[in-house]
């Protein structure tokens, strides 16, 4: 039934708690006892508190989910759980690559910055899956790279976006239909009410478009999140692809939106995407074995990207 909570502090808190209780999809994976959370935060709420105070309590409660896809939106602020990336080294500085590797001489289109490194290695930094490119745009880019020996796709600091854009890019690197992963959604309000994993597939780009069959290295950091995390998960299953950098930020939940009686919006993970082996990627995708590496501050100070240098050496070692 639609909620009949009062539009006061207690009613809004209870509405938020119930919504998460009945619709959030990662309680078990995160070992969160949501009833215990209620007992912890409910005493902090009373109807004489201000909206700002209520927002703080509700935000703190949502942070217990440790989920970057969980937000509370009020007219004065939106809550974020940031520890999924803030507790880790950033491992990326765009300026270093733009200045010291390309001397600011690179091409940009949409969220793509791209160029060819002196080692004849193609490089793309894809900043956000919110912005996609048309098939023709990608054809131009891959055509430009046609003589390069390998391709580096840098999705560090890519916070995600549309899964459709993931498919648009992945289909350039496959020559047959692949199992991309599975989707699992909640089927009811119980914490363990889930559907059977539904497999979904990606097919190769149609004939007449450029595809890429040479080696590919994907660069990652903790801020590689959500759809970008999904991109890394799928790419890592391809034989010609290696992942270099740090474990991605995760965010495999498909966020859905809801609201409270006072009009504040809620966003949280309602469905889960699993990788092609049926494993959860909410906690991130690990780099290829032996390819986990952080930025060295000394390198950065001298204009070097430790992870990019590692990737270049990695590619050269295989040729």
């Amino acid at each position: 039934m639609p909620d009949d909570f009062n539009n006061d502090a207690v009613g809004n808190f209870d509405s938020l708690w119930k919504t998460i209780d009945t619709r959030y999809c990662f309680f078990e994976e995160k070992d969160v006892d949501w009833n215990e959370i209620y007992s912890k935060y409910r005493p902090k709420v009373n109807n004489s508190m201000t909206s700002y105070q209520l927002f703080e309590v509700c935000s703190d409660m949502l942070a217990e989910l440790r989920d970057g896809h969980t937000n509370l939106s009020s007219p004065f602020a939106t809550s974020y759980y940031r520890q999924w990336w803030s507790d880790y080294p950033q491992n990326y500085d765009a300026r270093i690559i733009q200045q010291y590797y390309f001397n600011f001489n690179y091409r940009s289109i949409g969220s793509f910055d791209y160029g060819i490194l002196p080692e004849n290695i193609a490089y793309i930094h894809y900043a956000s899956f919110e912005s996609g490119l048309g098939a023709g745009n990608i054809d131009y880019i891959l055509s430009y790279f046609s003589n390069a020996q390998a391709l580096i796709i840098d999705v560090r600091d890519n916070g995600g976006g549309s899964l459709t854009n993931v498919e648009t890019l992945v289909n350039r690197f496959i020559d047959h239909e692949i199992l991309a992963g599975y989707i699992v959604h909640k089927t009811g309000p119980g914490h363990n009410d889930f559907s059977e994993p539904y497999p979904y597939y990606i097919t190769p780009i149609a004939d007449g478009h450029y595809a890429w069959g040479k080696p590919v290295v994907v660069l990652t950091n903790r801020s590689t999140f959500s759809a970008a995390n999904n991109f890394v998960s799928i790419m890592s299953s391809l034989p010609q692809v290696s992942v270099i950098g740090s474990t991605t930020g995760g965010g495999s939940g498909m966020p859905i939106s809801y609201e409270l009686p006072n009009g504040w919006g809620i966003r949280f993970s309602g469905s889960s995407i699993l990788d092609s082996e049926g494993h959860i990627t909410e906690f991130g995708v690990e780099p290829t074995e032996g390819c986990s590496i952080d930025m060295d501050p000394t390198d950065m100070a001298s204009g070097h990207d430790t992870i990019l240098d590692f990737a270049i050496d990695y590619i050269k070692s295989y040729h």
Partner: protein, 291 residues
């Protein structure tokens, strides 16, 4: 009911503009036929209040306005024109409702089509009544712009309905008036609903399981009430009325409500389409869809 020929000739002019009824009636009202079955049609506009809830989109109830256009057509059946009539109804509806915080709108647009037959009786004191059934297709969509991956909730239902009517013909001073009430109640059918937290993205990827549900009173309730008064000013009547429609579903732990109350205004009339190149047989009998 028999019309004098001069009235019939005036009706011909009216019939020309009734494009929706022309083709089907032409074949049935040829001059050598012994039975003429005029079409009784109504075109209406409606406006009123809307109360919406859909827990797939929000746990909050919404309230606002709704507008609609309706077409309603009655005609005696060919096989037993005195006793059986058919009814075709078509409705377009749109609504906009706000949450209780007044900071978000939910929009609805829908179309509804039904065809049915009713057995009728002429009763004393200007009363007549009918009961029967209809088949209905209802399509629509709710849209809540603030939502990201779940901004819309599609509506689709095909149902078999029980329906009936009662009419009362009277006069307001010297003005002929026909009062009519018709409820419609779906009894069984099928309807669409996504699963509890299932995103349309997953459906578009191909997961079609569990989307179609058998509709019965336990999970699908709909009651459409239509009360009208046709004020007869000649060949055409002014229709005023009131509709109250109650629609709710409960499946996959998703609850939906769509309640509307509307005032109605429009025109109605009984039209007949004749071939001017053929004479009407003196034996022709006109059997109206309304006694």
């Amino acid at each position: 009911m028999k019309f004098p020929l001069h009235i019939v000739s005036r009706l011909i002019i009216s019939a020309i503009i009734m494009l929706t009824s022309t083709n089907s009636i032409m074949a049935q009202t040829e001059s050598d036929s012994t039975v003429l079955r005029p079409v009784w049609s109504a075109y209406t506009l409606s406006s009123g209040s809307s109360h919406i809830a859909d827990t797939y989109l929000s746990p909050i109830k919404y309230a606002g306005w709704t507008v609609g256009f309706g077409y309603n057509r009655l005609q005696s059946m060919k096989f037993s024109p005195e006793r059986w009539i058919m009814q075709l109804r078509f409705n377009l509806d749109a609504s906009c409702s706000k949450n209780q915080a007044k900071n978000t709108d939910i929009w609805y647009a829908g179309i509804n089509f039904s065809w049915g037959m009713m057995y009728r009786w002429k009763l004393p004191y200007g009363l007549s009544a009918g009961v029967g059934g209809s088949a209905m297709i209802d399509l629509g969509c709710l849209y809540l712009s603030r939502n990201g991956n779940n901004p819309a909730s599609a509506k689709a239902a095909a149902t078999l309905n029980a329906t009936g009517y009662i009419t009362y013909k009277t006069h307001l001073w010297s003005l002929p008036i026909t009062l009519r009430y018709q409820p419609t109640l779906p009894v069984i059918g099928a309807f669409f609903s996504p699963d509890y937290n299932e995103l349309y993205y997953e459906i578009f990827l191909g997961n079609r399981s569990g989307l179609a549900h058998c509709a019965w009173f336990g999970n699908f309730f709909r009651l459409d009430n239509l009360l009208t008064a046709d004020l007869n000013f000649g060949n055409t009547s002014l229709r005023i009325g009131y509709s109250a429609n109650f629609h709710s579903t409960k499946v996959n732990d998703i609850v939906t409500h769509n309640y509307t109350h509307c005032a109605i205004v429009g025109i109605s009339g009984e039209w007949i389409s004749l071939n001017p190149n053929k004479r009407i047989s003196p034996a022709a009998k006109i059997i109206s869809a309304t006694f």
